[in-house]
Amino acid sequence: MMRDQSLWFWHVAAGVAILLLAGLHMGIMHLDVILGVGNPAGGHPIDWANVVARGKSVAFLLSYVLLLGAALFHGLYGLRNILFELTAARGLRALCNAILILLGLALFILGTWAAVAGRQMALQA
C-alpha cells in the first residue's frame, strides 16, 4: 500500500488528468461547431458515423481508459478519506482499503473491457 504522500500526489495528478480529458470530451461532444475535432463524418457528434470513427481510433481508446482510471482513482480516494473519518480502527481502515482496491480494479477491468469491445465492434462496422 502506498503511503498517503504518494496517494495524495496521484489524487491531484488524476484530478488534472480528469480536467484535461473531460475538457476534451466536452470540446468534442458539445463544442463541435466551434472546434470541429473528433467528428470526421460531420453532423452531430453522436451520429453513428462519428461514433464509429472515434471508436476505431486507438488514441480515443487510450483516452477512455485513462479517463476511467483517473476518475476511479480520484473518486475512490475521496471516498476513502470520508470513510477514514468515520473510523480510526486500523482493522476497519485496512478493510476499507481492500474493498476500495478490489472495487476500483473490478470497475476498471469492466470499463476497459467495454472500451476495447466497443473498438472491436467499430472496426467490424
Binding site: 498517503d4 504522500q5 495524495w8 500526489f9 491531484v12 480510526a88
Partner: protein, 281 residues
Amino acid sequence: MNERADLQAPKDITYRVRRFRPEEDQRPTWQTYRIACAPGMTVLDGLWLIKETMDPTLAFRASCRMGVCGSCGMLVNGKPRLACNTQIAELGSDIVTVAPLPNFDIVRDLVPDLCSMFDRHTALKPFLIRPDEQEQENPRGEYQQTTHDMEEYLQFSYCIKCGCCMAACPTLATDVLFSGPMPLSQAHRYNADSRDGGFDVRKEVLAGTQGPWRCHYAGECARVCPKGVDPAKAIQWMKREMMADLLGRRAPSAPAGLVTAPPAAKPRPGIPPAPARTVGA
C-alpha cells in the same frame, strides 16, 4: 449621563459556564452566574471574579493574563479564544458562554486535557535536528541565519500552543489520527528553518496518515489563532514541500553552519575598539 460615563458604568453580565466534575458528573452541565462587568474586563477577569466571590470550585487554566502563555484557551461564545485576550465588551452580548476547547478530553470544568496535542507535537520532533549526532547533543555555538532565512518560518514561531486551532479544526473533530494544525505548522516551522536538517526524520511521520493529507482546507485554524499564525498556510506549504520531495525536486540543502568570527580588523587611531564578540568568537 454622557457617552464616556456610560462606558464606565458597570453592566450586569450573565456567564453560562460548562461544568464537569469527573468524580460526580456523568456528563457536562451548564451553570449560570451573574456578575457586574466593569469596562475593560476580560472573560478571564470574569472567571476569576466568579471563582473568588461566588464559586471556588470552578476550575480553569490560566497564567500570564496577557495572551502569551496560551493557558486560557477556551470556547467563548462558540469560538475558541484566549480568555485573557478577549474583552467582554467585544463579544457584543450580555451573555458570555464559556466551555472547554472542543476536540479535547475534559479534565475538569474548563480545563482541557492537552496531552493528545502535545503527543502529536512531540512525534513531529519540534526542535532543530542536526545531521551530526555529536553536534546535536553538544552544540558548539550559534548557527548562521540571515533575516531572509528567518522570515521563512518566523510567523509560525509565534505559536503559543494554546490549542485554539486544534479546537477549531473540523478534520481533527472526525479523524483522531490527523496530527492537527498546531503540530503540523510546528513541523513546517522547523522544516523551513535553514539551521535544521530534520526534514527526512519528520517525513517518516508526515508522509503517512498523520501528515497533512486529510486537511479539508477549512481554514478555521488560521481564523481563530490569537497570535495571527496561519497554520493552514503551513500545511499547504508542507504539502508542496512533500510533493517536491516525492518527485525528487526538493533542493538538498545542508543545515547552516556555525557563526564564524570575521577577520580581525586593524585598530584605527582615534576609534575605540569594538566590544568583545558574544557569538562566533
